[in-house]
Amino acid sequence: MSEASLTYVYGLTRAAAPLPEEPGVDDRPLRMLRLGALGAVVSDVPAAEFAEDALRGHFEDLGWLERVARRHDAVVQACHRAGVAMPLRLATIYVDDVSAEQRLAEIAADVERTLDRLDGCDEWGVKFFDSPASQSPSAPPEPTPSTSGADYLRRRQAEMMRSGEAAASAAVRADSVYRALAKHAVADTRHRPQDPKLAGRREPMLLNAAFLVRRADTHTFRAAAAELAGHHLEEAIVLTGPWAPYSFAGTTG
């Protein structure tokens, strides 16, 4: 047996697109599998490292995971810059090229439609963080104990209404930011906000959105983000990108 390898697929693109000069995972050279008009950017990976059991173990090793995730992303982004590319989920692996080609042939028509839709567009991430002030609810300290149960209940009710209103207004602000930016995008989607405790900032993330923006509209989109930031001086708007269209790559017809 020669040293066994598997076929790792990074992303799908057009067969005519140039292969980026980017090393693959473990420094293996990239290759392009061509299925008619469709191209799959792949590299060999050692079976010893990427077979099912090994992979399961590696996935628990954060160092390994970061290395592979960043390489996967770097390849996908390079493909995206070289032409339209559809990112695949990390660790899409076949036993050999033939098996990969067989599977990809089944979905080629769908993929080509999606590539047409994504062509000339970038993904931009927008996170919207609440203002730090909103974190200290203006609940007046009430040192005086309740005089009666009814008083207490009334006060509780008022408190709950206040926090309810604050949450509602936060949702409204997040919606308005989202809608304003969506006007400049071909497609948009909202991901679940990331947890504030771990996000490295105390303010809650009100919005974690992704926008598919035509490259020609990039300037307009970013200007719109800047203008929104001007309107929301208390809050923070964080832009990431341009990304390959990760959030818009689903094979929806």
């Binding site: 695949l88 599977r103 490295g200 001007g230």
Partner: protein, 119 residues
């Protein structure tokens, strides 16, 4: 790039931030097109993975330092929660297996825990 600002430079960034590990992992593990591969890393594994990573990074500070937080509200995780009973069962079976292997060398005569024998 400095685009003409309409207002005073706000405390926000119009300049894109470099991709943090959290953002990269969020995308490559949770987004991106899913095609069945020959090597099965199915969604359940990824759900379990998020839990495992959380356990690995025991301290919140360490996680914050690395910018990792995305599992907190990972939608796939909430799906996992629904199956949590099934997963627990699997994990318990696995642990029992491992324990059997671990104690396999030394005979169990004097083993204090007897739950297993109760049938």
């Amino acid at each position: 790039m400095t685009s003409p600002a309409h207002r005073a430079p706000a405390p926000m960034t119009n300049r894109p931030e470099p991709a943090g590990l959290a953002d990269v992992l969020e995308r490559v593990l949770d987004k991106g097109m899913v095609i069945a591969g020959d090597i099965r890393i199915n969604l359940l594994d990824i759900e379990l993975l998020t839990i495992k990573i959380r356990l690995l990074i025991a301290s919140v500070d360490k996680a914050r330092e690395m910018g990792i937080d995305w599992w907190e509200h990972d939608p796939t995780l909430s799906v996992a929660e629904r199956d949590v009973a099934a997963e627990n069962r699997q994990l318990r079976t696995r642990i029992a297996e491992l324990e059997r292997q671990a104690t396999g060398s030394g005979q169990l005569d004097s083993a204090p825990e007897r739950e297993e024998t109760r049938e």
